[in-house]
């Protein structure tokens, strides 16, 4: 890493970096994903077992792929990596662009789901 004065990149390595500075460095200042919208409950699964050899990925990208060996929501990924959701969205966009994860967005506009969904949830809850 080159010397950049008070750059976010330098502050990133500081353990006391606040919750804003570190995400800024993780995404290299990008606020929006290159592709995708990523609802909090969009479900993500990795398409590959290991991507640590991929060029151009950061440790957070690799960590997401590791986590998504099991299906995870965007919110869960953010919680486990301890990064804001906006940062996770940017990283997921990178991974989608490389086909390293598969995403399923929830339905958000078409109104409430069918009875079959409600009934499945009710029965599932009763069985807990």
């Amino acid at each position: 890493m080159t010397v950049q004065g008070e750059s976010a990149e330098q502050q990133w390595v500081d353990d006391h970096a606040g919750p804003v500075v570190r995400p800024y460095a993780v995404t290299r200042g990008r606020a929006r994903p290159v592709t995708g919208t990523f609802d909090l409950i969009s479900l993500v699964t990795a398409t590959r077992a290991d991507v640590s050899a991929e060029i151009g990925l950061g440790p957070e990208h690799v960590a997401i792929v590791g986590l998504c060996q099991r299906i995870q929501s965007v919110a869960e990924i953010a919680a486990h990596l301890d990064l804001p959701v906006g940062t996770i969205r940017v990283l997921l966009g990178d991974l989608v662009a490389r086909n390293l994860v598969q995403v399923r967005e929830p339905r958000t506009s078409a109104g409430l789901p069918d009875n079959s969904v409600f009934e499945a949830v009710i029965n599932g809850l009763r069985a807990l």
Partner: protein
């Protein structure tokens, strides 16, 4: 990015459907407790970064100098089946962060509004919000020790609720009680939707 079956990469398993329910109410009313009581793990926590103006950041350049704030959301997961995952989200403070509420409420199948009879007015903003959006909701009166017991119809009247909105007692610390609240909400949401269909 909703991959249809034909677009899905060969050999990939179909991803389940995710749905969400919100748990709202005043500070300290038991939102996180309820999320934890029914979820399969202890409540998780995630943060959104907001700018001064209360909207989501869309330009991070110069963000170090901007006054920003983070808003935390508690949530939990209940895996219903291989095809269906339910997420419960505790909503953040009711007096600000409406931007986050809008994001949370989008696509939610319903909401639980928790009420504490010692501070009933604390849940007004949540009720107003879900009424305004047309999100189906139930009011669950969390039973704290030492709180005077009111009849449910008294609570319903005090909250000026539509007669169709279920009001029930609960103990957010108990899984069975919290489950019952969610089931009541789901049954109510189904009924609400059917009533709307008939009206249309």
């Amino acid at each position: 990015m909703d991959y249809g079956p034909s677009e899905r990469p060969a050999g990939a398993t179909p991803l389940p459907t995710a749905i969400k329910i919100l748990v709202a109410g005043g500070f300290g009313v038991g939102k996180t407790t309820m999320v934890g009581a029914v979820s399969e793990t202890r409540p998780l926590r995630t943060e959104e970064v907001l700018t001064e103006s209360g909207v989501g950041i869309d330009d991070l350049s110069g963000v170090e100098s901007k006054s920003t704030t983070t808003v935390a959301m508690d949530f939990g997961r209940i895996t219903i089946s291989d095809d269906l995952v339910l997420y419960l989200f505790g909503t953040p403070g009711q007096d600000r962060f409406w931007f986050v509420w809008d994001e949370l409420a989008l696509g939610a199948i319903g909401a639980v509004v928790l009420a504490d009879t010692r501070r009933l007015a604390d849940c007004f903003p949540s009720i107003d919000y879900f009424e305004g959006r047309g999100t189906p909701f139930v009011v669950a009166v969390n039973c704290f020790e030492g709180a005077k017991q009111y009849r449910l119809d008294e609570v319903q009247a005090a909250l000026n609720l539509d007669s169709g909105v279920p009001v029930l007692l609960c103990d957010a610390r108990q899984r069975e009680s919290s489950k019952e609240v969610l089931i009541t909400l789901l049954e109510h949401a189904m009924k609400t939707r059917d009533a709307r269909r008939v009206a249309d």
